[in-house]
Amino acid sequence: MKNADYTIALAGNANVGKSVIFNQLTGVDQIIGNWPGKTVERAEGLLLHSGKRIRVIDLPGIYSFSTFSMEELVSRDFIALEHPDAVINVIDASALERNLFFTIQLLELAPPLLIAVNQIDLAEKKGITIDTKKLSALLGVPVVPTIAIRGKGIADLTDAITSLMQDHPVPPVLYYGKEIEERIAKIVPRLSKVTTPYPVRWTAMKLLERDSSIMQVVSEQDLGIVTTAGLLAGEIESIHGEPVCVVMSAERYQIADRVATEVITMRTPGEGLQKKSLTDRLDAVALHPILGYLAVIAVLGGLLVWTFIIGAQVSAFLAEFLSQFEQYEPVITGPLMDILWNGAFTGFTAGVTLVIPYVLPFYLLLAVMEDSGYLTRISVMLDRGMHKLGLHGKAIIPMILGYGCNVPAIYACRIMETPKQKTLAAFLVTLVPCTARTVVILGLVAAFVNIWWALALYAFDILLILVAGRIAFKAVPGESVGLIMEMPDYHVPSLSVVLKQTWTRTKSLIWIVFPAYIIGSAIIQGFYAAGLLNPVNDLLSPVTVLWLGLPAVIGITLIFGIVRKELTILTLAVIFHTTNFGAVMSPVQLIVLALVSMLYIPCISVILVLASEFGWKKALAISATEIVMAIALGGIAFRVLSLVM
């Protein structure tokens, strides 16, 4: 956001209503992107208040600063290095202890801090009343109660933010147990010789916790301090017999528990508490050994039905409508501008027929599932199965999205925890046959061989994903952690949050897909007009003709397919001057072509998205792997199928 007078950040656990507050504070003008070089979503918006332009950053939902996930490092560095004018810690009134555990870690970083105790209505329903004035007095920072979903307390919050931004108060220090404080006191004075962008007490604590990135920063200036801190940490470890990080977590929870006990009044279990909560009753179905799976199948089946029936029809209708203006002509001749225009318009059509029928509804449904809390239940139900792929339950989301379009599916891989799991999930997503590839399989195999061979290709693909998943799990470096996930209470999703999330995500996608399609199509048309494609066919013929047993012209169609897979069929029709592919190619050739199209690099948009999420190195590695795999398997299939058919 340009020209902002102030910057503030929202921080807190996941599922506390942080994004609702973000939406309440900022207008429609949000930007959702990535933190530079990280596979972590970054949401930014603008708050206009009493003539000031305030930039609002929604930090990722995290529980601690000590596990060193990318989300945690991004948040911590933003608060420590960018010095926001205010940090709003959104906490869930129903789970005060765990939320205060994070608050305590925020206080250590000493930014101008403000606490929004959200969802106080839900806590009241559970019999929990929180004395926010006392909480404010105990922690020494302003506390505002809110019910964000109904807009309550937002005005108070904005006022509190304004005064915080002007005064920049430093929150008071919280003290830990004696054996910790004594050792912090030994490190602090020695840090006066060292300059770090971080607060001194915080740096001392991090050295004591053996935080590798802080140890690195300090050791470059004074190795002695790091060594001393290491020895002091060792002393704590031998007192408690546990890693110092775990000791610190226990210390922080002790403070959190103490504060929570002082400010919470529990109503004695009365009328309201005896009956089961809505969440418990819904979970009795959603997590039921039989009904739960039926619910998952219904939701996932609904997504597939949408893709194959409704999405495909809407897509066909849009393509039909747009073709009134310009027809796709692969063998176009004429002035260069016309040729490029033809290519560019085809690209535009491709973009429209992708985003409207597939991407938008998927994002909408994803936002609803995410916001309502159902997504976590699906992950729990499918955790076991996803273990076979070296992933856990959450990975089902990108995989399912992949059947519609790989591009949003790759974005969805952000929900995985470790870089390894993100990369692995994205790789497997690119093997999921999207609608465009489905069109190729249906158009070549189901139409001219039979439906069973088409289904066999699908079955083979699922098998391949299983096998590739296992191999990639071994081959991709990094660690993979089992599922440890909070199960939030269900709630009715906020319409404005869902719509804004859908729109901002779609918006960021459009900026990749449309340029890729438009420019890519124009360039290929240009190449064709310049007579460069026949030499390309000749160049590819050792692979296409000798190894795969396909006609030489397939070289062109495979290259067209890089821009968009269903162009393979359109190009083929024009080159052969017929749509009856059964007459020009044998069943074996049709199956091999469909197989190769299904597997070789997804398409140009997918490569670009992979590059923007994971860097070019990984994007190219995945593309190369898939080209090799497609060619290898295609050649083998050609030889095996020639024997049997």
Binding site: A95, R98, I484, M485
Partner: protein
């Protein structure tokens, strides 16, 4: 009666009891390849020692003392199996018989040294769980530390069980978390610190994730991680 024989019988009774509910004389005889008559005799002597409860025709069940011996033997047996298979690279099929012979001779000290060296494995090569030791430590890291400094470690007086063995609504206090410190760290950040009350909300079939309630929040935890979280003396009630 030799200690080894006692242990062999207790082990056989333990296996049969967990399979059939009680160990019948004929089944024990078949299992240990001995005559039924000699089984009856040994069972009487075990009953006298207070290790089993024995009723003719109904079969034998282990007493609390008998169960403790069985737990120790099972732990030694499975640790040895891991050692033989993973360190000595013996064939998986062979390790059972080999461990059967070794389990009676190794001391408690060797048992714990094996456990430390093998990084406190949770399962034997055949997938059966290895119960944790009864040292009064909060995590395996603590045991490692104690090993280095020769610090005397108190013995736990209460039996600990993994939270996966709790029935829904049952609660208990976290006594020990086995495993990698990164997992311990993640769990403690989410509020699973030693001494905290937890209860199991729901278990999913086929060793799927376990849903637990801790500090007023619900967490879904991978089964393999959950079975390494141990709690003390379960009771019923709300957390």
């Amino acid at each position: 009666m030799a200690q080894e024989q006692v242990e062999e019988y207790i082990e056989a009774i333990y296996d049969l009891e967990s399979r059939d509910g009680s160990a019948k004389t004929t089944a024990i005889a078949k299992c240990l390849h001995v005559a039924p008559a000699s089984v009856t005799e040994v069972l009487k002597s075990l009953s006298d020692k207070g290790f089993i409860q024995y009723e003719p025709y109904r079969g034998a069940t282990l007493t609390y003392e008998g169960k403790e011996i069985a737990d120790t033997i099972k732990r030694k047996h499975r640790l040895l199996e891991v050692f033989l298979a993973d360190v000595l690279k013996l064939n998986r099929e062979k390790v059972h018989d080999e461990a059967c012979r070794m389990e009676h001779t190794i001391s408690g000290e060797t048992e714990n040294a094996l456990c430390r060296m093998l990084d406190a494995p949770a399962h034997c090569p055949h997938g059966s769980p290895i119960i944790p030791c009864n040292k009064g430590v909060g995590s395996c890291a603590e045991c490692d530390g104690a090993g280095k400094t020769d610090m005397p470690v108190a013995i736990r007086d209460k039996k600990i069980i993994p939270i996966t063995e709790l029935v829904p609504e049952q609660k208990g206090q976290i006594a020990f978390i086995r495993g990698d410190y990164k997992v311990v760290q993640r769990l403690s950040d989410l509020g699973l610190t030693l001494g905290t009350s937890v209860s199991v909300m729901r278990k999913t079939p086929m060793d799927g994730p376990v849903e637990i309630l801790v500090r007023r929040t619900k967490l879904a935890i991978d089964h393999a991680i959950a079975e390494n979280i141990f709690i003390e003396s379960p009771g019923t009630g709300n957390v």
